[in-house]
């Protein structure tokens, strides 16, 4: 792959220079997305450390509680907050940033250039992956220091961790892109995109242990992906006997994969059918 710029004179002398590939422009987008994101220092600090701060707080408040079966409260919250963190960087931050870029006319300007549409999404996806990994690593390190969180101790658990993490990130990324088209303006994006996420965090086992959630709210949560991401992560970070605390009495990993895949497909269809490069009033 010729990533370095070709000699200008050679490129100019040819009559029809080839258009740069979507992958190459996507890498260029990734660079600009990362610079734009990581230079907003306060926003970065907020996004990357919020789950870790929540873990310290929740772990301190519920220190004397036990979830039963020798399950540490710290590990319980850590698993939930990793899940919430995945959805926060992918669904929430991504959805908000696209809504703002659309409202400011940045998407419209990009659409007026020969940039391939796919390159924009490559850039966003790479940013989501990198920021989600960074945030998760911070969370796990803090959990290990403060709450005696233990890393997965078998290859099988690592494998579960990896596929739940990646599938969850892909699903929430697609849903974030789809959700970005719902708000009419950047100002309403906060409410439209964040509200459902906050509600889901309370009923899906992020801020409140899932066993404490009333059964009817658990049923509601079961329709959405966050509950399944958190459940998959509990199977990674909690002792095997904790499976009996789950409503189903087991980790249901097959169902986790099924539900997340179904949401990913739904998200993809929504993205392909509803994504707009311009504001609504721009026609």
């Amino acid at each position: 792959m010729t990533v370095s710029a070709p000699a200008k004179s050679a490129a100019r002398s040819t009559k029809q220079a080839p258009l740069p590939s979507a992958l190459r422009v996507g890498m260029s987008r990734t660079g600009i997305e990362l610079k734009g994101f990581f230079r907003e220092k306060q926003a970065v600090a907020f996004v990357l450390t919020l789950p870790a701060i929540m873990l310290v707080l929740l772990g301190s408040i519920f220190r004397n509680e036990t979830a039963g079966h020798d399950v540490s409260v710290g590990a319980l919250f850590a698993a939930g907050l990793i899940g919430g963190g995945v959805m926060s960087t992918s669904y929430q931050n991504l959805g908000m940033s696209i809504a703002i870029e659309r409202d400011r006319g940045m998407l419209k300007r990009l659409r007026g250039t020969p940039m391939p549409g796919a390159a924009y999404f490559i850039g966003k996806t790479c940013l989501v992956l990198i920021s989600t990994i960074a945030e998760t690593v911070i969370l796990i390190v803090v959990g290990m220091l403060v709450d005696h969180l233990q890393l997965p101790h078998s290859a099988e658990r690592w494998w579960t961790f990896i596929w739940v993490f990646i599938l969850g990130t892909i699903t929430c990324t697609l849903l974030g892109i789809a959700a970005s088209s719902v708000p009419r303006s950047a100002r309403s994006a906060m409410a439209v995109i964040t509200l459902p996420f906050v509600v889901l965090q309370f009923i899906s086992g992020v801020y409140v242990p899932f066993t404490f959630v009333p059964p009817w709210l658990r049923d509601v949560a079961s329709f959405f992906p966050l509950k399944w991401i958190c459940q998959g992560l509990r199977s990674v970070f909690l002792p095997a006997q904790a499976a009996s605390l789950e409503p189903a009495g087991s980790w249901e990993l097959g169902r986790v994969a099924l539900v997340l895949t179904a949401w990913a497909v739904a998200g993809l269809v929504l993205c392909l059918t509803t994504f707009r490069w311009q504001r609504r009033r721009d026609g």
Partner: protein
């Protein structure tokens, strides 16, 4: 390069409706290659709708459109690489935390044969700001950055939608010089504006649009028969201002010269300004 199509832009009977509102009601425009063409009109006249159809942002309801030999509605990336668009609203760029050079280089990466980023930054007068972050720029500097992003792909045709709105007079003059340079290098430019002095200073030809229709097309000097209109000769006579309308101002001035035996006190000869003609063209329809 083989020119298969003499005209850069050819529009025939273009129509666009939004519900009951007719935004564009049968517009014909032809822009030659290398020409600077200004589309003048009041707000809501159909300027932006017309231009956005040419840019491929909107679909038309009727008529024919050819831009650089292709229909914008179906044109792909290769066509987009040949045009440059500067939208009406100044944006804060990709992100306020990027530098001018970073964002210009980034946009250059979209094109098959872009101009050199630093050369483009110099052209828009932002060389001293190349390392500055976008949030440190003034409104006029951001607008010039918008232009840099529009031209970095080395386009054959540039769309400038109200490029100098909100500029101070000095910035506007500097911007005009930039447009002159681009035009001098053979780039075709379609400009929309509601500043008449801007159209007069920059455009080879002007079209006045009102209520979705072209009211007149011509060079700024001859628009609406301006050159053939009666001139007004005024002079000072015994402390009193006198004036006369004439189609032969030279003869009137010669007669006055003979009458006063030399210098005519307070002599002026004026023709209707572009603004007079413009107001008449758009006013007659409202």
């Amino acid at each position: 390069m083989v020119l298969t199509d003499e005209a850069a832009v050819r529009v025939g009977d273009l129509r666009k409706r939004y519900g009951d509102l007719t935004a564009v009601g049968g517009v014909d425009i032809e822009i030659r290659r290398g020409e600077v063409f200004a589309l003048l009109g009041p707000n809501g006249a159909g300027k932006t709708t017309t231009v956005e159809i040419l840019e491929g942002y909107r679909h038309r309801d009727g008529g024919t459109v050819s831009v650089l030999g292709e229909d914008p509605q179906h044109a792909g990336r290769a066509w987009r690489a040949r045009i440059g668009i500067v939208l009406q609203l100044a944006t804060e760029g990709e992100s306020a935390e990027l530098t001018v050079r970073e964002i210009v280089r980034h946009f250059a990466s979209f094109y098959p044969k872009p101009r050199d980023a630093d050369e483009v930054i110099g052209l828009v007068g932002l060389s001293t700001k190349a390392r500055s972050r976008i949030h440190q720029l003034s409104g006029g500097q951001i607008r010039r950055l918008d232009v840099a992003l529009g031209i970095v792909g080395d386009p054959e045709l540039i769309f400038l939608d109200e490029p100098t709105t909100g500029f101070d007079p000095e910035a506007r003059r500097a911007f005009w010089a930039l447009i002159g340079e681009l035009s001098g290098s053979g780039t075709t430019i379609l400009l929309t504006t509601h500043y008449l002095d801007e159209a007069e200073a920059l455009a080879d030809r002007v079209a006045v649009i009102a209520d979705g229709r072209i009211r007149a097309t011509g060079t700024p000097a001859e628009l609406g028969g301006r050159d053939a209109r009666a001139a007004t000769v005024t002079w000072q006579d015994d402390g009193e201002r006198r004036s006369t309308q004439t189609s032969e101002p030279t003869r009137v001035v010669a007669e006055l010269g003979a009458r006063y035996g030399g210098e005519v006190p307070g002599l002026t000869v004026t023709r209707p300004s572009l603004e007079d003609v413009y107001l008449e063209l758009i006013g007659g329809q409202q």
